[in-house]
C-alpha cells in the first residue's frame, strides 16, 4: 500500500505546475519548494514523520483535528503528528492544489484514512515559508 501511495505522490502532478523562471536561482528555489511539499506528502503517505520533521522550524503552527490549534515546539509537533497518524491510519494522501509566491507556498490536499467502517477524508493544508535559505513548514492544518 505504501509503495502505491508513494508513487501516487509523484504521479499526481496536476497540483504543481512547472514553470520557466527568470533565473536559475529562482528555479532552484521553487524546485526545493516542490521537494518539501513532496516530502511532506511522502511522510503522510507512509505515516513516517522523518520525511516531515526535516522541515520543522523551532515553532510550528499546528491545527490538527485531535488537538488544540496553536504554536507547538518542533518536539511537540513531531509527537503530535505521530499520534495523529497512528489514530487516523492513512490510505492515501494527494495534493489537490498549490500556490506559491516569493516567500510563501501553500498546498491543500486530501488525507484519506481508515477508521471504523469505511474510509473518510480530512482536508490538509500545508504552508511553507522561506527562511534561512530553505523552505520550512509554517503551518499544517488537518481537519
Amino acid at each position: 500500500m505504501y509503495s502505491y501511495a508513494c508513487n501516487n505522490v509523484f504521479s499526481q502532478d496536476k497540483w504543481w505546475k512547472e514553470q520557466k523562471y527568470k533565473s536559475e536561482n529562482i528555479a532552484e528555489k521553487f524546485a526545493q519548494c516542490k521537494k518539501t511539499f513532496t516530502d511532506v506528502s511522502i511522510g503522510l503517505n507512509r505515516a513516517n514523520i522523518n520525511f516531515i520533521n526535516l522541515y520543522f522550524d523551532t515553532e510550528v503552527y499546528l491545527n490538527i483535528i485531535t488537538n488544540e490549534k496553536g504554536y507547538y515546539s518542533s518536539n511537540q509537533a513531531e509527537l503530535m503528528l505521530i499520534d495523529f497518524m497512528e489514530y487516523f491510519r492513512v490510505i492515501s494522501f494527494n495534493y489537490t492544489r498549490s500556490h506559491r509566491k516569493n516567500m510563501y507556498a501553500f498546498a491543500t490536499g486530501k488525507y484519506v484514512y481508515n477508521r471504523g467502517s469505511g474510509s473518510r477524508f480530512l482536508d490538509v493544508t500545508v504552508s511553507l515559508k522561506y527562511r534561512y535559505d530553505k523552505w520550512l513548514i509554517d503551518q499544517i492544518s488537518i481537519n
Binding site: K14, K17, K69, S73, R97, H99, G118, Y130
Partner: protein
C-alpha cells in the same frame, strides 16, 4: 530463601500467567468478533439506544415536574390572571431556578409577562395549543441552540376550568457551536450524555406544525436513529448516534486489555523492584549498588513505557503531547504525564543515592579504598565533574520544560494555577528537589574524601578554595569544548554555595551525632527552600536567554508580506464555504438568516488566525442577508459591500463564466500574469482566482473575496445557477498580533502564542514613511521616532535589514529589534521598488525587576501550597507512629511564638485582600457608572419612543441607526435595549454568534423597569469568563423610560483580572516571605531559649548515671543562667561528698580484708605452733617412741597448713588482680559440654543437657568462661547431698543468650542469697568466700548478668544472661 520472598516470586509468576491469559482471552474475543458480530452489534446498539432514550426521558420528566410545580403555584396563577408582571417576576425569583432552565410566562393574549434565562421565541400556534389546555413538549431551534421546551397552561386563579396563561420551560439539548474554547463550550443534555456514556449524539427536531423531520443525509449515514417522543406521546424529533462498528468494538477490547495489562505490569515491576533491592543489600560496594539501582529504575521505566503504564489507565490530556513533549529519552518525556512519572523515578534514584551516601558517612568508612593522595584528588575532581554535569543537566531539563511546553508558564490571570500549569510546576519542583538531593550526595562524598585525606594537609585545610577552583576549571574546559553551559554563572555559583553549605551542615551532624536522621522535616524544608531560591531563577534566566530568539521570530513574522497568505486563505475558505450544503438550504430560509454568517465563519479556519475577518452573505440581488464581523469598527460591512459592488458586480466581472479547470487559474496567478483590472489607485487590485474574485482595498486596509453559491445538484451543468454570494474580508494589522480582545474571544484555542512565552509584554511600533501608524505604547514609540532617520539609513545599508539596539527611555532600559519591511535581499526579492517602506520596532524592557519579583512570588505561593500538603501528611504519619502525642517544651514554645506572630499577619492579609478586592470592585463600578452616564448624555438628543407610546417598526429602525451612529463615535462597549429586545450594540459579534442573548437579562429588566432603580450591576458569564455589566434606564426629554443602556467590562475583564492577580500576588507573596522569615526567627528563638534547659536535662541524666564531673557553660545572666550556676555548684559539692564517702568505704573494705586475712592466716598458725611446740617438747624430753610418727604428722600438718595459706594468698590475689582477657565471639554450648564431661565422673550426679544449637554467639574470654561455669557447677555439685541432678539449659531471648543451671540441692535461704556475691562470704567450711565474688566480677566485665533463684529443699537456679555478639 526467606518465606516472604518465595511468596513474592510466586505472585510474580501468577501475574505473568495472568498477562498470558489476558492476551489469550483478548485474542479469542478479537478472532471471534466476526462470527458473533451480529449479536454483539445488536446488544451494544440496543444498550446505547436505551441509555440515550432513558436519559432524554428523565430530563424531559424533570422539566415537566418543574413546569407543573410552577404552573400550579397559586401566586403564579393569581398574578398571571391579573397580568401583574412585577409580582410574577418576584414569584419566579422565589423558585430559585437552576441556571440551565429558561422560563417564559405569557398571558391569554400571548403577551410575554415575565421571563428568566435565554429567550425561547415560541411560535403563535405553540402558545395557542398551550392555552387550549394541553401540556406538551417540543424540540425547538433558536439561534445556535436546540431546546427541549415544555409548554404548560396556567389555569385561571378564580375559574380553574379556564386557562389564563401559558408557561414555557426549556433546557438546552445541544449547541451548534463549532468553536471550542473557554467561551464556546457546548452545554445541555447532550453534553452530560457525552460525559456520562461517551456517546456523541446529534439532534433533528420535528417541525412544530407538520411534525416532519428533516434529517441531514450526511449525518444519518452510518448512524443509528432514535425516535424521541414528547409528553403527549407525539414524535418530537430524532437523535442519531454513530453506529457501533467492528473497529470500535475491537478497540474497546484492546483498551480493556491494555488497562489490565498495565496494572499487572505495575504490580510485577513493584515486586521485581522489592526483590532487587533486597539483593542489592547483599552487595558490599555501595557505588555498585547505586549503579545497579539506577539500571533497575531505567529498566522499569522503559518496561512501563512499553506496556503503556500509566497512560493506558488514564488517557487524559496529560498524556497527550499538546501540553508538553520532548523527544529526549525515547518516550520517557513524550508528554507531561510521562515526564511526571520520569521525574518520580529521578526522585527515587536521588533519595536512594542520598541514603547510600549517608550510610557511608554513618559507617565512617571510605567510599573507595584509595591510598594515594593524587588518585584521591583525581577522584574528587571526577565527582565534581559529575556535579557540574548534573547542574547542566538540570538546566537542560528546565529549558526543555519551558520550550517544549505549550503551557503558559507565567499566567498572570490566576493566582492558583490551572491543572496543566500545576502539573508542570510540580514537575519543576520534583526535578529541583531530586537535583539537590543528588548533588548534596555527591558533595557529601567529596567532603568525606577530604576528611579521610588526613595526610594531605593542604587538601584538608583549603578545601573551600579547592572545590570552587576545580568547578571553575571544569566550567572553563566545558565551555571551551562543548560551548556555553545551560545555567547562568551567577546561578551556578549560588547553587554550588548552597550545596557546599548544606552538605557541610549534614556532614558535620552526621559525623558528630550518632542519631542524626536524614529524612527529617528540617532537611526537607531546607531543600525546598533551595528550590524556591534557584528554580524560578533558572526558569527566568532561560526565558530571558531565549527572548532574543522569540522577538526576532515575531519581527520576522510581522515584516513578512501577508498578502499572499491572506489571498490564499480567502480563496481556500471561500471554496470550502461555497460547498457547505447547509448554506444552500438555509440561504433561502429567512428564519435562519440571523446566524448564518457566523455559522460559516465558525466552520472556517479563520478562528485560528490573528486576523480581523468578516463573512457577509448576499442574496442574488446583492443585498446583505446575514453578516458576521469580528471587529465592526475596523472593517465596516457596508463599506465592503459597497466597494465590491462598485468594483466587481457593477463591472459584471462576476458574470464571467468560471474556468472550471482550476489549475489554469492557479497558474495564471502564480505566474503573476493574472488579469488586473485597472483601479482608481494602483494599490487597489482586483484579481480573478478560480471562481473567486479578490479585491484589495489599500485605503481601508483589507482584502476581500467574493464567490457565488451555486445549487449543488446543478453544478457544472448548463443549468448552473446561483442562489447567493459569500464575501469574506480579512484585515491584517500588526495590532492583531497583540491579540486584541475581540479576536481572542473568538479564537478557537486558548493556548499561547509566541508573545506569551515572554515575561513582559513587548511594545510594538510600526512606522510607515517615518510616521507612526501603529503603536502599543505611543510615549515610547515617539522616543524611537526621534532617532529613526539615522536608523533607517543604517538598516538600508545592512544586508539583513534588521538590527538590535539598546535604548534608554524615561530612565528605563529597553532593547529594541528593528526590521525594515519589504526589502530583504537574499530572499530573491521581487518587490524591490515597491516604494512602501515600513519599519517595525519591537521593544522590550531589559531589567523588568517587578515582573521577575511577581513570578518569583507566584512560584513561592505554589511551593508553599505543596509544602503545606506535605507538612500535613508528614505530621499525620508522625502522630500515627506515636502512641500518645507528646509535645516537648521547645515545640510548645515554637507553636506559641508562631501563633502569636502569625495571627496578626493573617488578619492583616485577609483584610488587605478584601480591601483590595473591594476597592477594585468600587473602581469598576464607578467606571461603569460614569460610562453609562456619558452615553446617556450623548444619546439625549436621539428621539426614541417611550414604552407606553405608539410607534411603528420603521421609526424604530431609524432610531436604531441613530443610536448606532452615536455608539461608533466612542471607544466603549454599549448596548441599547428597547423594552426587552436589543436595539443597537457596539458588539454585534457577541449577539450574532449567540454568545449573548438579544433579550435583556431578566433581573436587570425587573430592577430597572419595575423596581425603578437608577443603576443595576450584575456579574454575568460567558463560558468560563465572568464579567461585570451595568444597566441604566434611558429617559427621553419628557423623562419617561424609553430604553435601557448597558455597558459591559467583558473585553477588559482579562486586564482587570491580571491587575487584581498581580496586586494580590505581591501582597500575599510579601506576607508569605514575612511568614518564612518569622518562622526562622521563631525557630531560632525557641532553640535559644530551650537549649540551656535541654543541656541541663542532659547534664542531670549524666549525673544520675554516675558521672560527677558534669559542668554546663552558662551563656546568660538571667534566671536560667542562675539555675545553671546552682547546678554546677551542686555537682561540685556532690563530687566532693562522694569522694569522701568513697574514701571511707575504701578504708572500711581494707580494714575488713585485713581483719579477714589476719584471721585466715592466724587459723593455720595455731595448729602449726601447737604441733611444733609438741614436737619440740618430745625432743626435749627425749621421747623417742612415736617421735618419728609425730614428726611426720607434724610435717604433714605444717605442709598442709602452708598449702592452705598459699591457697588463701592466691585466692586473694585472684580477686584483686585484673588478668588480661582475650575476647572473642564464642558459642557457649561447647564450653558447657567440656565442663560437664569433667564432672560426669561423679556417678551420684545426673547431668541433664538442654543446649539449644541456635542460642547464638556471645563475646567473651574462653578461659574466664570456663572458670565461671566450673565455679557455678562445682557449687551445685557441692550443694547436692547424696544423689541428685543438675540441668543445664541454653536458650535465646531477645538480644540475649541465656544459660540456666538448675540443681535439686537443698536450696538457700533469703539471707544467704542476699550475701552470695560478697567477698569472703561462704557457707562451706573450706571455702574462702571469694569464688562467686570473682565470678560476678568477671561476668560484669563481659557485660553479662547473673541471678540466683532458690527455694529451700527444692533447689537452686542460676541464670546467666550474655549479650548476643
Amino acid at each position: 530463601m526467606n518465606k516472604q520472598y518465595r511468596i513474592l516470586i510466586l505472585i510474580s509468576i501468577f501475574i505473568l500467567c495472568w498477562i498470558g491469559i489476558i492476551k489469550f482471552i483478548s485474542y479469542y474475543f478479537k478472532t471471534n468478533v466476526d462470527n458473533e458480530w451480529n449479536e454483539v452489534y445488536r446488544e451494544q446498539t440496543g444498550q446505547q439506544k436505551k441509555l440515550v432514550t432513558d436519559f432524554f426521558n428523565a430530563s424531559q420528566q424533570e422539566l415537566l415536574n418543574l413546569s407543573k410545580n410552577i404552573s400550579e403555584n397559586l401566586n403564579i396563577k393569581n398574578h398571571t390572571s391579573k397580568n401583574e408582571i412585577k409580582k410574577l417576576f418576584e414569584d419566579i425569583e422565589t423558585f430559585h431556578l437552576n441556571e440551565k432552565y429558561n422560563l417564559e410566562i405569557y398571558n391569554k393574549y400571548f403577551e410575554q409577562l415575565a421571563f428568566n434565562g435565554r429567550r425561547i421565541d415560541p411560535e403563535y400556534n405553540l402558545l395557542q395549543k398551550g392555552l387550549s389546555g394541553n401540556t406538551f413538549s417540543v424540540i425547538k431551534e433558536t439561534g445556535f441552540n436546540t431546546y427541549l421546551v415544555v409548554v404548560t397552561p396556567v389555569n385561571d386563579f378564580e375559574n380553574g376550568s379556564v386557562n389564563s396563561g401559558i408557561l414555557l420551560i426549556s433546557e438546552i439539548i445541544d449547541s451548534k457551536y463549532r468553536l471550542k474554547n473557554t467561551f464556546f463550550s457546548s452545554t445541555g443534555i447532550f453534553k452530560e450524555m457525552r460525559e456520562k456514556f461517551n456517546i456523541n449524539p446529534a439532534i433533528f427536531p420535528a417541525n412544530i406544525i407538520t411534525g416532519k423531520i428533516q434529517t441531514d443525509t450526511l449525518l444519518t449515514e452510518g448512524n443509528e436513529q432514535i425516535d424521541l417522543y414528547g409528553i403527549d406521546s407525539r414524535l418530537i424529533g430524532k437523535i442519531t448516534i454513530p453506529s457501533y462498528n467492528r473497529e470500535q468494538h475491537l478497540q474497546k477490547i484492546s483498551v480493556l486489555e491494555n488497562r489490565i495489562e498495565s496494572v499487572l505490569v505495575f504490580f510485577l515491576s513493584v515486586i521485581v523492584a522489592i526483590v532487587f533491592i533486597v539483593v542489592l543489600k547483599l552487595l558490599k560496594t555501595r557505588f555498585l549498588r547505586v549503579i545497579l539501582f539506577f539500571l533497575l529504575l531505567v529498566l522499569i521505566r522503559y518496561f512501563w513505557l512499553q506496556f503503556d503504564f500509566p497512560a493506558g489507565i488514564y488517557a487524559g490530556e496529560l498524556f497527550s503531547p499538546s501540553y508538553f513533549a520532548s523527544l529526549f529519552g525515547y518516550g520517557i518525556m513524550k508528554s507531561a504525564g510521562e515526564l511526571f512519572v520520569t521525574s518520580f523515578f529521578f526522585l527515587a534514584f536521588a533519595v536512594y543515592a542520598s541514603v547510600q551516601c549517608f550510610q557511608i558517612l554513618n559507617a565512617r568508612t571510605d567510599t573507595i579504598n584509595i591510598k594515594n593522595s593524587f588518585l584521591r584528588l583525581l577522584n574528587i575532581i571526577f565527582l565534581l565533574l559529575l556535579l557540574y554535569l548534573l547542574i547542566d543537566l538540570y538546566g537542560i531539563t528546565l529549558k526543555s520544560i519551558i520550550f517544549d511546553s505549550n503551557v503558559r508558564f507565567f499566567d498572570r490571570t490566576k493566582i492558583i494555577p490551572d491543572f496543566a500549569l500545576f502539573t508542570i510546576q510540580l514537575i519543576v519542583l520534583i526535578i529541583s528537589f531530586s537535583f539537590y538531593a543528588l548533588s548534596c550526595s555527591i558533595m557529601l562524598i567529596v567532603l568525606n574524601q577530604l576528611r579521610i585525606s588526613v595526610k594531605n594537609v593542604f587538601l584538608r585545610k583549603y578545601w573551600f578554595v579547592i572545590i570552587p577552583a576545580i568547578i571553575i576549571l571544569i566550567n572553563y574546559l566545558y565551555e571551551l569544548l562543548l560551548g556555553s553551559s545551560e545555567v547562568n554563572y551567577v546561578i551556578k555559583i549560588i547553587i554550588v554555595l548552597l550545596l557546599i553549605l548544606y552538605s557541610l551542615y549534614v556532614f558535620k551532624n552526621a559525623v558528630a551525632r550518632k542519631k542524626y536522621v536524614l529524612f527529617s522535616l528540617r532537611n526537607f524544608s531546607i531543600i525546598i527552600l533551595f528550590c524556591i531560591i534557584t528554580a524560578p531563577a533558572v526558569l527566568l534566566d532561560k526565558i530571558k536567554s531565549l527572548e532574543t530568539r522569540y522577538i526576532e521570530l515575531i519581527g520576522n513574522e510581522l515584516s513578512d508580506d501577508d498578502e499572499d497568505k491572506i489571498i490564499f486563505k480567502i480563496t481556500n475558505e471561500l471554496n470550502n464555504m461555497s460547498n457547505i450544503r447547509y448554506l444552500e438550504n438555509n440561504i433561502r430560509d429567512r428564519s435562519k438568516y440571523a446566524n448564518l454568517a457566523f455559522y460559516l465563519w465558525s466552520e472556517s479556519k479563520l478562528d485560528a488566525e490573528d486576523y480581523n475577518s468578516a463573512v457577509i452573505i448576499l442574496d442574488t440581488n446583492f443585498k446583505i442577508i446575514s453578516d458576521f464581523n469580528l471587529d465592526a469598527q475596523r472593517i465596516i460591512t457596508d463599506s465592503i459591500v459597497y466597494y465590491i459592488k462598485k468594483n466587481v458586480i457593477d463591472r459584471k466581472l462576476i458574470l464571467n463564466i468560471p474556468d472550471w479547470e482550476s489549475d489554469t487559474a492557479v497558474m495564471e496567478y502564480e505566474d503573476t500574469d493574472t488579469v488586473f483590472y485597472d483601479e482608481e489607485k494602483e494599490e487597489n487590485l482586483t484579481v480573478k482566482y478560480d471562481k473567486t474574485i479578490i479585491v484589495k482595498n489599500s485605503a481601508e486596509n483589507y482584502i476581500a473575496g467574493l464567490i457565488p453559491v451555486e445549487i449543488a445538484d446543478l453544478k457544472n451543468t448548463q443549468f448552473a445557477s446561483n442562489v447567493g454570494y459569500i464575501i469574506l474580508a480579512i484585515n491584517s494589522e500588526i495590532k492583531n498580533v497583540n491579540l486584541q480582545p475581540t479576536v481572542k474571544m473568538f479564537r478557537s484555542y486558548s493556548r499561547d502564542n509566541i508573545l506569551n512565552k515572554l515575561i513582559s509584554k513587548p511594545i510594538i511600533t510600526e512606522f510607515k514613511s517615518g510616521e507612526i501608524i501603529y503603536s502599543s505604547d505611543v510615549e515610547l514609540s515617539k522616543n524611537i521616532e526621534k532617532t529613526l532617520d539615522y536608523l533607517r539609513q543604517f538598516l538600508k545599508d545592512k544586508s539583513e535589514k534588521k538590527t538590535w539596539r539598546f535604548d534608554n527611555f524615561n530612565n528605563e532600559k529597553y532593547r529594541t529589534f528593528y526590521v525594515l519591511k519589504g526589502n530583504i535581499i537574499g530572499y530573491y526579492d521581487y518587490n524591490e521598488n515597491d516604494g512602501e517602506e515600513k519599519i517595525i520596532a519591537i521593544s522590550l524592557k531589559r531589567e523588568d525587576i517587578s515582573e521577575m519579583v511577581f513570578y518569583y512570588l507566584k512560584f513561592i505561593l505554589f511551593v508553599l501550597l505543596i509544602y503545606v500538603v506535605f507538612y500535613i501528611i508528614f505530621s499525620l504519619i508522625y502522630i500515627r507512629k506515636l502512641k500518645e502525642v507528646k509535645i516537648n517544651f521547645r515545640e510548645k514554645l515554637f507553636i506559641s511564638f508562631f501563633i502569636v506572630s502569625i495571627i496578626p499577619i493573617i488578619i492583616l492579609a485577609v483584610y488587605t485582600r478584601s480591601y483590595i478586592t473591594g476597592k477594585n470592585e468600587l473602581n469598576l463600578r464607578n467606571q461603569l457608572v460614569s460610562d453609562l452616564n456619558s452615553t446617556s448624555e450623548m444619546l439625549k438628543d436621539v428621539k426614541i419612543p417611550s414604552y407606553t407610546g405608539k410607534y411603528s417598526d420603521s421609526v424604530l429602525i431609524l432610531q436604531r441607526d441613530a443610536v448606532k451612529r452615536n455608539f461608533f463615535s466612542i471607544d466603549k462597549n454599549y448596548n441599547f435595549y428597547f423594552k426587552t429586545r436589543l436595539l443597537a450594540t457596539t458588539n454585534d459579534e457577541l449577539y450574532k454568534s449567540d454568545l449573548l442573548d438579544t433579550r435583556i437579562e431578566s433581573d436587570a429588566y425587573f430592577n430597572i423597569v419595575y423596581l425603578k432603580k437608577d443603576l443595576y450591576l450584575k456579574t454575568q458569564n460567558i463560558g468560563g469568563l465572568s464579567y461585570l455589566v451595568g444597566y441604566k434606564p434611558f429617559k427621553n426629554k419628557s423623562n419617561t423610560l424609553s430604553g435601557i443602556i448597558s455597558s459591559q467590562l467583558l473585553y477588559k475583564q482579562n486586564e482587570i483580572n491580571e491587575e487584581l492577580t498581580e496586586t494580590l500576588t505581591f501582597i500575599l507573596g510579601t506576607y508569605l516571605i514575612v511568614v518564612i522569615i518569622l518562622l526562622m526567627i521563631v525557630s531560632y528563638l525557641s532553640v535559644r531559649i530551650s537549649r540551656p534547659l535541654l543541656e541541663l536535662k542532659h547534664a542531670t541524666d549524666k549525673l544520675s548515671g554516675g558521672q560527677m564531673d558534669v559542668q554546663i557553660k552558662s551563656r546568660s545572666k538571667d534566671e536560667i543562667g542562675y539555675l545553671i550556676d546552682s547546678f554546677n555548684k551542686m555537682t561540685r559539692e556532690l563530687k566532693k561528698s562522694r569522694e569522701k564517702i568513697k574514701k571511707a568505704e575504701r578504708d572500711a573494705v581494707w580494714r575488713d580484708i585485713a581483719r579477714r586475712v589476719a584471721h585466715e592466716i592466724r587459723n593455720p598458725l595455731t595448729p602449726m605452733r601447737l604441733s611444733i611446740q609438741h614436737l619440740y617438747s618430745m625432743y626435749k624430753e627425749k621421747k623417742t617412741e612415736n617421735f618419728e610418727e609425730t614428726l611426720t604428722k607434724t610435717k604433714d600438718l605444717i605442709v598442709n597448713e602452708i598449702d592452705k595459706l598459699d591457697r588463701i594468698a592466691s585466692e586473694f590475689y585472684k580477686y584483686a588482680s585484673m588478668p588480661k582477657r582475650n575476647y572473642e565471639t564464642l558459642n557457649i554450648n561447647p564450653i558447657l559440654e567440656d565442663i560437664i564431661s569433667l564432672y560426669e565422673v561423679d556417678k551420684r550426679i545426673e547431668f541433664r543437657r538442654n543446649l539449644n544449637p541456635d542460642a547464638g554467639n556471645i563475646l567473651g574470654d574462653r578461659e574466664e568462661l570456663n572458670r565461671i561455669f566450673q565455679n557455678i557447677i562445682k557449687n551445685s555439685i557441692q550443694a547436692i547431698r547424696g544423689s541428685g541432678y543438675i540441668e543445664i539449659i541454653t536458650y535465646n531471648m531477645d538480644n540475649y543468650v541465656c544459660v540456666e543451671i538448675i540443681d535439686n540441692g537443698p536450696g538457700m535461704e533469703k539471707e544467704i542469697m542476699e550475701k552470695l556475691f560478697e567477698p569472703n562470704f561462704s557457707t562451706k567450711t573450706k571455702g574462702t568466700g571469694l569464688g562467686l565474688a570473682i565470678t560476678k566480677k568477671a561476668l560484669d566485665d563481659m557485660k553479662a548478668e547473673i541471678s540466683y533463684t532458690s527455694e529451700v529443699n527444692k533447689g537452686t537456679k542460676v541464670t546467666v544472661k550474655f549479650l548476643k555478639s
